[in-house]
Symmetry: C2
Subunit: 228 residues, 2 copies
Amino acid sequence: MTGKRAAVRADTTAAIIRLARRQVETRGAANLSLREIARDLDMASSAIYRYFESRDQLLTVLIIDAYDRIGEAIETADAKRDRDDLIGRWTAIALALRSWALTNRADYGLVFGTPVPGYEAPDDTIAPALRYTNVVVRLLADASSSGCTPSIESPRTRKIAGEYRYVRRAIGVDAPDATLLAGLSAWAAVFGAINQELFGHVDTVYADPGIHFAALVDMLGRQVMGLT
Amino acid sequence: MTGKRAAVRADTTAAIIRLARRQVETRGAANLSLREIARDLDMASSAIYRYFESRDQLLTVLIIDAYDRIGEAIETADAKRDRDDLIGRWTAIALALRSWALTNRADYGLVFGTPVPGYEAPDDTIAPALRYTNVVVRLLADASSSGCTPSIESPRTRKIAGEYRYVRRAIGVDAPDATLLAGLSAWAAVFGAINQELFGHVDTVYADPGIHFAALVDMLGRQVMGLT
DNA sequence: TGTACATCAGTGAACGCGCGTTCACTGATGTAC
DNA sequence: TGTACATCAGTGAACGCGCGTTCACTGATGTAC
């Protein structure tokens, strides 16, 4: 039977990743220790090198894995709603992002927090990093093509018009300036709110940050889609 | 003369802080090394302990210092405008925050990025941490008391009303739900946008992130203050 | 089905490194009379 | 103004620690005939 060795290998690999993730959570990515993982697994420290070629590569795997799981969470949330239900999709995406962040603090921090200086993300991270982005971009495209007009106005200057011309091409969405501005702003607000909550900058402000977050998302959704 | 020893001491202290900041920038807070600072200063590593009682305390000083400088930057930006000029103040605050973040990446990351796990911020950091917050809170209070009505609506449910009742007390601003929601949302968007830009999540989206940021701030200001 | 060989997970010792912190000390700078 | 003493910055050796990575090795698991 070919599968047995492979199965054990997969188990050990998964165990290493699990322990690594726990370490990142409790001590930070910069203090990820291969030796400690080996100790927890009752292996010689050198054995880790049968599974990962270096500490940096293990970190990379962690990052790719995190991006993939965020992408999956958001794609799933999006797919559960009708494609026409723009507000429903927006809300589902935003709430999914927050709850994923809350239950996966370490991964969220790894991916969206302070970059680990000196760590250069290799190219393998690019595609997974785009998964969650693409969901939002598609939503914006759908909103624009179904004629939503956001309830805000973009300032009209030549510089700003030029910038949004660039953005249109960069993300491949042929939407008017106001839609781009409203959408990107809403997306920034969602991330900002999650960051503030997760990293402890609003502990004294809210009784239940989730309630405020829901109101925020609701308001932003109506704004981007142009409903009141 | 009493001042000489004190002056030398102040110089050395400042040099240590400067080198520490540079290290945080290039290698991250988790890898801050007292020994390396000593080496750069041509001192014995033990000499650092004449100035700081531990590595953690040096980190704390760095954090307090960063908060203080953010607070100062934002207070200054705010104070340059007439108190009546609500949009002007909002814009100045937001732009000041972004440009401070861009020129002080290490400090920004230290304060607003992933918390260093295991590091418990002592009480001395609380007051400096509130400086920048208070500027925004005061602006919201002024907006509300001068009768601005934001151009968004807050969802009306009992839960949300209750939450904002809590927020009103927590930040000491007697503003209607819609003002709180618009204000907090705008503030989150500003932080979100800065985080995305600084931590490299939108490198491929904008030609000049500053232009988008200015448009964003302008739009948010009009929204919170209720002007179109 | 049995045997010979190749693959591969895991070992344990070693290399060379850097770290935070303590301690007893020296010698220069400041203070009090 | 000069002297005796206290303060304090800085030294250098040491303690005990953990780290990533390499290397030659063993022994079990799988593969080909």
